[in-house]
């Protein structure tokens, strides 16, 4: 057999992506653009939540949105109708966005022109949690019909999130959903997670969520 040379690598697969994400955060810091990575299962209400948030906050800050879908521009159209500048990102069939794809999106959007940029990630509770996009904060949406045990089934998603929106609270009477349990399951994996029960359809609970978003955006953009 031919002689072979062994090269020790000992490198995490995600190391390159993590380094790229850190560079992206430094850029966003200097541009004074607060990037939020919004994640959830399909159908949890990312687009509806975002449209209402834009309608409420659009008067006080410049908001840009990057819609990541495998196909279609349905969501980008809904967001544009709500009054924000939106672009569609193409994931090329991939189940998540990584830092390199996010950077391409920020270039296309012109992130320096916005105070708040929201990345609507691919609907999926597994893969997006594995890849740091370079966002300042991660936010997940869990909707009542999905059940209160999701933090146990998808622990990484709830570990990497700074805030959790529990959407569709208007249907709580019809589902066997235990709000106390979901809070304790999420905090068990992430003691500092902020939890906001909301209803994107009626606007219930949006004041607290939008106050948090306002504070976080102001803090990031002032260099805190």
């Amino acid at each position: 057999m031919d002689k072979v040379r062994v090269i020790e690598v000992k490198q995490s697969i995600f190391a390159d992506n993590n380094a790229h994400a850190d560079r992206l955060r430094a850029r966003l810091r200097s541009e004074k653009s607060f990037l939020v990575n919004l994640m959830s299962s399909p159908g949890a209400g990312k687009t509806t939540t975002l449209a209402r948030t834009i309608a409420d906050l659009g008067g006080e800050m410049r908001i840009g949105v990057m819609e990541a879908d495998i196909d279609s521009t349905v969501d980008a159209e809904a967001i544009a109708a709500a009054g924000a500048h939106a672009i569609q990102l193409h994931t090329g069939g991939m189940c998540h966005l990584d830092a390199a794809m996010t950077e391409q999106g920020l270039d296309e959007l012109g992130s320096a022109d916005f105070d708040l940029v929201v990345l609507e990630n691919v609907g999926n509770l597994v893969c997006p949690a594995e890849f740091d996009t370079g966002a300042a904060k991660n936010v997940a949406i869990l909707s009542v019909p999905e059940g209160h045990d999701k933090p146990l089934k998808y622990p990484l998603m709830f570990q990497v999130c700074h805030a959790l929106l529990i959407n569709k609270i208007d249907v709580l009477p019809y589902f066997d959903f235990d709000m106390d349990k979901v809070v304790s399951y999420a905090k068990m994996r992430n003691p500092s997670i902020r939890i906001f029960p909301i209803c994107a359809k009626t606007g219930e609970g949006f004041d607290a969520w939008e106050d948090w978003l306002r504070e976080q955006t102001a803090a990031w953009n002032s260099g805190e």
Partner: protein, 123 residues
């Protein structure tokens, strides 16, 4: 679930390692994969077969996957236990105050390259 995506990341990382070490062809890649890393070894191997055939650097390279056992720690009774067997509940006290010690790793351990014997350095 995202094995093809991570295979692309593996190949990108290998390209950098190859460039740093002046390597043009890789014969074998050894990965270390935690039991609860969310990456399924058999899917990973299939995606590797497909993606590696499209990259000259790793075309035909053998993929070796070394599993890393998932072990959790119970903060209440200060004991370790197997995560796969018992999940998040401690088998000794039944409590849920538990943490993963190891088992979500996903690392490139080493590569083998054909060629003359030389001092291996990590450049």
């Amino acid at each position: 679930m995202h094995e093809l995506g991570v295979v692309f990341h593996v190949i990108d990382s290998l390209k950098k390692v190859a460039a740093d070490n002046g390597v043009e062809q890789i014969g074998k890649v050894t990965l270390q994969l935690g039991e609860v890393s969310t990456v399924i070894p058999s899917y990973l191997a299939d995606c590797w077969k497909w993606a590696s055939a499209r990259e000259l650097l790793v075309n035909g390279a053998e993929l070796v996957i070394e599993p890393i056992k998932a072990i959790s720690w119970c903060d209440d009774c200060k004991k370790q236990y197997g995560t796969i067997e018992h999940g998040r509940s401690c088998p000794y006290c039944g409590g849920g105050n538990t943490w993963l010690l190891q088992g979500n790793e996903f690392m490139i351990k080493e590569i083998e390259v054909p060629g003359p014997e030389e001092e291996s350095d990590n450049g």
